[in-house]
Structures are given as structure tokens and as C-alpha cells.
């Protein structure tokens, strides 16, 4: 492992790393913000079906400016396009898809993830309100809950924690996390670091992490293929 090109991963690389593992035919729900970058990955022959909370099943890329279809937005209220084979349902049926276990993977952003699989992404300190949206339903309903987030806060505080400090979104549901420093699986023993941002050492990543990391014996540089 070399430190020659030490640079945190960019957001597209982080999301592409998760998207790489999407399987053909999967139904995916991508949270607003960073997770939507997963759809930029080149899936080649794989067919991914994007689903959003507002009842849109099977949408395509973002609409080009000037080509927006007025009544067609995803859950992040971005104008998207229709793919052949798409379908529209109402909100209650959309959460049948979500809570009923039809979503193969959801990729969500988060403030914190804990080594027990808890995560916190709806409320920041000192505020009475918050924004839940579909996250709590996705967290308990999707077959896989994967998180994409920066490894530390803007103030440099760790986000991979022993226990969440913020109010949690769901308990024990996160299976995988990608950050700008690596790829981590949540295991019964805690965070297993499987891949690391090129140029970083495990010790450097651990120093930016509150939870104790288990370093995979097969630790590899994180790479998008």
C-alpha cells in the first residue's frame, strides 16, 4: 500500500463502489443527495430498477435542462425521465413496495452509523424538528441498507461510532457503509474494513473513527471496476 496518491475518495467513486455490487434486476431506492450518484455508474448489461417514495417505479436518468416533464419527479424532487416499462402507483402502494420487502437495496446518506448497525440521518443536534421522509420505512423494509457518507464531519469528528449520539433512524439495519476513506461491512463483531482509500493506512482510518475497526485480512485499495 502506497501513500503516494493520498486523497479521500470523491463522492462519485464512493457511490460507484456501492453501485458495482447491484445485481441485475434489482430494485433500488437511492436517497436524496449523494446516493443518487449511484445511478451514474455504468451498469453495462445490468438492469437496475429505480423506485422512489412518491410512487415512481422504473425511472431513468435526470431530465436534461429544458426537457423536464412537469409532473415527473423522484423522491428528491429532481426531474427525471421515464424508461420503457415504468409504472406509477400511489403513495400507499409505494410503501407496500418499500415496507413489503420488494426493494433489494437502499442507499442512504447519514450523519452517523454505529458498529451495531444503527444509523442516524434525520435530526441534527439542537433542533426540535427533523426530516424523516421515507428513510425509516426504507430502513426496516429494504433487503439491504447501505450508507454513503463522508468519514468525518466538517469539524473533523468521526461518523463511524460505537453508538449513535444523534437520534437514530433505525436500529441494527445497516449492512454496508462507504465513506471517502473506505468500504466497511457491519458485522456482529463491528465494522469490518474491507477496502481502503488508496494512499491511506488502516491506522490513519482508525484515527478518524470512533469505533474500533476490524481490518480485513484481505484489505484492498478501494477501486471501481
Amino acid at each position: 500500500m502506497t501513500t503516494s496518491e493520498k486523497k479521500p475518495l470523491d463522492r462519485q467513486t464512493m457511490c460507484s463502489r456501492l453501485a458495482m455490487e447491484f445485481e441485475d434486476g434489482w430494485i433500488a431506492n437511492l436517497g436524496a443527495g449523494m446516493p443518487t450518484l449511484c445511478s451514474n455508474y455504468d451498469f453495462k448489461d445490468k438492469d437496475i430498477i429505480y423506485q422512489s417514495e412518491n410512487g415512481l417505479i422504473g425511472y431513468g436518468p435526470l431530465a436534461k435542462e429544458g426537457e423536464e416533464i412537469p409532473n415527473l419527479v423522484n423522491a428528491g424532487v429532481q426531474y427525471v425521465t421515464l424508461r420503457p416499462g415504468s409504472a406509477i402507483v400511489h403513495h400507499a402502494d409505494s410503501f407496500t413496495v418499500i415496507r413489503g420487502g420488494y426493494v433489494n437495496v437502499t442507499v442512504l446518506g447519514s450523519y452517523e452509523v454505529a458498529e451495531n448497525g444503527d444509523f442516524a440521518n434525520w435530526k441534527t443536534p439542537g433542533r426540535k424538528g427533523g426530516g424523516i421522509g421515507g428513510a425509516m420505512d426504507l430502513a426496516v423494509g429494504a433487503q439491504r441498507v447501505w450508507i454513503a457518507m463522508e468519514h468525518v464531519t466538517r469539524d473533523g469528528k468521526p461518523r463511524l461510532l460505537k453508538r449513535c449520539a444523534l437520534p437514530v433512524t433505525a436500529v441494527g439495519v445497516v449492512q454496508r457503509v462507504v465513506t471517502d476513506l473506505g468500504l466497511f461491512d457491519v458485522t456482529p463483531e463491528g465494522f469490518l474494513m474491507r477496502e481502503i482509500a488508496p494512499g491511506y493506512t488502516p491506522e490513519e482510518v482508525q484515527a478518524a473513527t470512533e469505533a474500533k475497526l476490524i481490518i480485513s485480512p484481505d484489505l484492498k485499495p478501494l477501486k471501481v471496476t
Binding site: E53, N54, P70, V77, A92
Partner: protein, 241 residues
């Protein structure tokens, strides 16, 4: 069949009393009943309870956030009670933090399922969403087949404000794409449903019964949106502010 078409939004909302509970449809701009909201703002009803995905927004020409800013709302049931960006703190947040207005926050799937329960005569239901979070702290839970669920109760409303694309004069509705969102469920859940129509109001018999999205039996008042001046959206002709 009964003709439910009214000619003005002001007429459509005229009887809404202070203290009414109103479901407001839409998810982002699609399906947002901004003309009905504009008329309600003019009408003056206050002390309202609003049930909607998020109540803080002032982004459309008339939105629930405007009613909140005018201090006409006492409680909001929603899935978003704060902007994701703390820098964009809204009047909604100020009022809930000061206690002048109440917000009951819940998962979006719980929000729509509580509406559906009200519509369907379901007394209560168990969902896994929010289990183990502070939202479930004072709620009844139950373990079913080894998983913990939280008990949730129906959300009833006096009125639903929704927007659809096409209606017949009896109120059979079709939505255009994601304009659908909460709207069909709200139409079923509320005692009185008001619909603004973006496209055409057609004669009874002109809609394929296989492709009616909301049956007219759930609809009470339909109003055609006057021609839009311009722009991506069909703007309300009478929206204010």
C-alpha cells in the same frame, strides 16, 4: 350523475371553518393543490390542522408554508418538520421550536398508512417503521413473528385538497405521472375532497372505467385551473401570496 364542478376556487373553499383538519396533497410541485391553498389563504380560516408530507414549504405560488407563516395553523402532521439544511430554517421551525405551533413528525410510510387506515375503517395497525427511535418512545409496541412493531392510529380529515390532471363532471379522476402520490389516499380518507384540475374536465362517460385512478364517489368538488400564463408549471391564476 351529480355534477360536482364549481367555477371558482373561492367558492370551493368558502365553507371551510376555523379549526378544520385539512389533508394537502402533492410531493414537490406535482399534485400540489396550490390554487386551493391560494383560495384558502384568501378565505381566512385559521386554527387549522394540516396533514401533509411537509408543511414548511413556501416554494410554490401558494403552499402550506404560507399558511404557517400567517400563523393560521395550530398543528401539522408530516414526514418533514425541518429543512435538511439547518441554514434554511423556516418560520415553520421557529414556530414549532417556540411551541406556538405543534408538529407531529412520522415516517412517510406511516403517514400515508394512517390516512389509508382512516379511509378504510381500520382502527389501528402495526408497522416496523420507527421502532427503536425516539418517535416510538411513548407508543405501544408488539412482537409479531419475532419482529417488533409499533401501533399506529388513523389520521382522519375534514377536507382533502388535491390536484389531478383530468376529471369528469362526477369527479372520477386521472393523475399525470407522479402527480398521483398521496392524492388518491387523501381523497379516500377525507370527508370532503376538493380537486384542482390541471387538464380537462370531461363529460361523464368519457373516462375508461378501467383507468379511473380515483373514483368519483370519493370526490366532492372539482375546479378547473384557469389557463396558465406561462412557464413549466400551470401557475395559479389567483394564487396569493
Amino acid at each position: 350523475m351529480k355534477n360536482k364542478v364549481l367555477n371558482s376556487f373561492d367558492e370551493a373553499v368558502a365553507d371551510i371553518p376555523d379549526g378544520a383538519t385539512i389533508m394537502v396533497g402533492g410531493f414537490g410541485p406535482p399534485g400540489l393543490p396550490q390554487n386551493l391553498l391560494g383560495a384558502l389563504i384568501r378565505q381566512g380560516a385559521t386554527d387549522l390542522t394540516i396533514i401533509t408530507n411537509r408543511g414548511d414549504q413556501t416554494s410554490a405560488k401558494a403552499n402550506t408554508g404560507h399558511l404557517v407563516e400567517l400563523r393560521r395553523v395550530k398543528k401539522v402532521y408530516c414526514a418533514f418538520s425541518a429543512s435538511p439544511h439547518p441554514s434554511q430554517a423556516s418560520v415553520f421551525e421557529e414556530l414549532t421550536e417556540s411551541g406556538e405551533m405543534e408538529a407531529e413528525l412520522m415516517p412517510q410510510g406511516t403517514l400515508v398508512e394512517r390516512m389509508r387506515a382512516a379511509a378504510s375503517g381500520i382502527g389501528a395497525f402495526y408497522t416496523r417503521a420507527s421502532v427503536g427511535t425516539e418517535l416510538a418512545e411513548n407508543k405501544e409496541t408488539r412482537v409479531i413473528d419475532g419482529k417488533t412493531y409499533v401501533l399506529e392510529f388513523p389520521l382522519h380529515a375534514d377536507y382533502a385538497f388535491i390536484r389531478a390532471f383530468t376529471s369528469d363532471t362526477f369527479g372520477n379522476l386521472q393523475y399525470d405521472l407522479t402527480q398521483r402520490n398521496f392524492n388518491p389516499v387523501m381523497a379516500m380518507a377525507a370527508k370532503t375532497t376538493l380537486v384542482e384540475i390541471e387538464g380537462d374536465i370531461i363529460e361523464v362517460g368519457g373516462m375508461d372505467p378501467n383507468n379511473v385512478h380515483t373514483p368519483g364517489i370519493f370526490v366532492d368538488r372539482v375546479i378547473k385551473i384557469p389557463p396558465a400564463p406561462e412557464g413549466l408549471w400551470t401557475l395559479p391564476s389567483d394564487g396569493k401570496p
